[in-house]
Amino acid sequence: MGSAGLARLHGLFATYKPPGLNWKHLRDTVEMQLLKGLNAGKPPDPEHRVHFLLGPVEGSEENELTLTATSVPSLTSHPLVRGPEFTRLKVGVGHRLDTQASGVLVLGVGHGRRLLTDMYHAHLTKDYTVRGLLGRATDDFCEDGRLLEKTTYDHVSREKLDRILAVIQGSHQKALVMYSNLDLKTQEAYEMAVRGLIRPMDKSPMLITGIRCLHFAPPEFLLEVQCMHETQKQLRKLVHEIGLELKTTAVCSQVRRTRDGFFTLNDALVRTQWDLHSIQDAIQAAAPRVAAELEKNLRQMPVTQQLPDPGQPRDSAGLERCKEH
């Protein structure tokens, strides 16, 4: 069971991180559950050794010793002797989420960790829903931080909020074009702009490709943010700055990632599903989509930035290395 299970376990899958859980603890929990699942399988039948036992001859009055050949199970591969078959499993984490945020967290197992690097270099956008509360300012931009100031917010209307969001999106659009390092006078750049693909394929500060207000009921408002190269703390700071632009103050009460690249909430596994079989199914289900999207992004990247091909097939579905016992 063990090695066959391990063979189907190379690849990427998405989990749902609840708020309040450190991403490292999530990764450790998933690793532990996978190891439990791999080790729970029925161990293979033990080998038998031929052992010559010294014993008295039956049916003889004299004390004669003779050797009898018996087949005895060998204990060298017994789990109680050697310990569990799998003790460590290499699980990597994609774009991290801090403790108070929640949402889609992509993990990679075994050879799938290479795909994590590919996903990082594809520089895909992520979707967040950010909930804000008007009227308070705290030191860490969260609801439970130290209160700095309280302000009135009756003057804030949906129209003003939309206007501020339009200004934010416009300035970030300009930054997107600037950090993408494209020569705008070329036909190639024009075609990329027509398809909406202008984005930086290198390091850059947080860039927002789309932001809009989904729900506005003062003091609460809900934003949908599509961004790249961000940290959740910067998103909370964004809420704080929106409050300042509206001539009031705001804190962020929830940051939830709804999409990371091509993994959405539908693909994310909840805590009750962090076991071997669900994870294996999730990896197998996501594998073709992952391969297709990464291939598409690799083709669109400028040639100077593509990583050298390591000479091995990239998709995890092709790696069926079954160790025969």
Partner: protein, 435 residues
């Protein structure tokens, strides 16, 4: 601050009774949620916006500034700035990003001419129009010079009030201003159209005077004999167009390219009604800036006349000058809402918010498209249409001599400034967003 007083008192209580539950920690943070809620309830509430706060309207200027057309004197004459060391700064040739102009009045109409700008307000005050920039032909009116009281300024560096000879200055409102190469038109609601500036070809609507000196001239001509009320004026390079509420178009000025549309190639100094394909058609908008003119009818058809050297009217004729308005039968454009015409470029906006361009120059469809006689649609993704925001539509388009500008709006009612910068001002052949 209330918080600090509470901290001091709590620290004293801690020392007296020792650490226990419900007391503040040494850092001053309340240990229990109840204490935090109490502290928060006591904190003062700040109000940054008054009850009657109104949003200030803003004017932003950018572009070539040596003629003073931007209205910021320190761009042209840095030593007029108030800060020390201002005189050592060089003068600013181009203002590449929008710069906010400090004006108290609410401006309702603005027009850019060739090196000068007019701003007008819909107010009943005596001062309704401000002008800045080149004034060598008195296109901004007469601005008395401070140094020599008998002469006027040739360059006006700040938005200065334009004196208008109105009969009822405290009742008449200025609806629109328009600027051409060296003349300007001011449309009022009850006193007709006023024109100022160069009249060498009759573009101001009055008889051409031989060897007239336009610099420092006080002459402002009023035109009132149209059949109906004038609802829109448009200035071409050296000609003028007037649109009445009856849907008729009048023109005067230079006609060597046929831009007056009156059937001849001579100048005309009296506003005359246009015929041709426009006869009997209800026109709702006219557009011109160079030597070509476009008009949009209520049914969504486009009519054009004037210069066609750059394929602006090549869809109906091969000749390079058209002096009678012709209908341009474009099939894939839909119902046209607005037209805009530059020096060599033309654009229309249809009812669905799509922009179509044709002509010659940087058209906005990449560096490979340099000229076309038939309209081509600019992909809506260049105006910000994405899966994230699918309701983005273009609501207004305008043309400069060699660049376009488009304003988008989404259904939520907000507007975003979005510029199609296709021109010599660092122009890529593409859409960039301004804000």
């Amino acid at each position: 601050m209330a918080l600090e007083a509470l901290t001091a008192g709590a620290r004293l209580a801690w020392r007296l009774s020792g650490p226990g539950r419900g007391h503040r920690t040494a850092a001053g943070r309340p240990r229990s949620r109840r204490e935090a809620a109490e502290a928060e309830a006591e904190a003062p509430v700040f109000q940054y916006v008054g009850e009657r706060a109104a949003r200030a309207d803003r004017i932003f200027v950018w572009g070539f500034s040596f003629s003073g057309a931007l209205g910021v004197p320190t761009f042209v004459v840095p030593s007029s700035g108030s800060e020390p060391g201002a005189g050592l700064r060089p003068r600013r040739r181009i203002q590449p990003v929008p710069y906010r102009l400090e004006l108290d009045q609410k401006i309702s109409s603005a027009a850019c001419g060739y090196g000068f700008t007019l701003l007008s307000s819909n107010t009943k005050d005596v001062t309704k129009v401000w002008g800045m920039g080149l004034n060598k032909d008195s296109q901004l009116g007469f601005h008395r010079s401070q140094k020599d009281k008998s002469r006027g300024y040739e360059y006006v560096l700040e938005p200065s009030p334009v004196p208008l000879p109105l009969d009822r200055p405290q009742e008449t409102k200025v609806l629109q201003v328009s600027c051409g190469r060296a003349h300007s038109l001011i449309l009022t609601d009850s006193e007709g159209v006023l024109s100022m500036g160069n009249n060498a070809y009759g573009q101001c609507g009055r008889k051409v005077v031989e060897d007239e000196v336009y610099s420092g001239s006080h002459k402002v001509h009023r035109m009132q004999d149209f059949e109906g009320q004038v609802v829109q004026v448009a200035c071409g390079q050296d000609h003028s167009l007037f649109l009445t509420d009856a849907g008729e178009v009048y023109s005067c000025g230079w006609g060597a390219d046929g831009q007056t549309g009156l059937g001849h190639y001579n100048s005309s100094s009296v506003p005359t009604k246009l015929g041709g394909d426009l006869a009997g058609v209800n026109i709702i908008q006219v557009a011109t800036y160079g030597d070509c003119c476009l008009a949009v009818s209520a049914e969504g058809d486009v009519f054009g006349w004037g210069n066609s050297e750059y394929l602006q009217l090549a869809s109906v004729t091969d000749s390079t000058q058209v002096n009678v308005p012709r209908r341009l039968p474009f099939s894939g454009v839909g119902k046209v809402k607005q037209a805009a015409c530059g020096g060599t470029i033309c654009a229309v906006l249809n009812g669905e918010g799509h922009v179509f361009v044709w002509g010659y120059g940087i058209l906005g469809k990449g560096p490979n498209l340099v000229e076309t006689a038939l309209p081509e649609m600019i992909p809506p993704t260049l105006f910000g249409l994405t899966e994230h925001s699918p309701e983005i539509q273009v609501s207004r388009i305008r043309c400069g001599l060699s660049h376009f500008a488009a304003l988008t709006s989404d259904d939520a009612g907000g507007t975003r400034g979005c510029g199609v910068r296709c021109g010599p001002h660092g122009g890529p052949g593409q859409v960039l967003r301004l804000n």
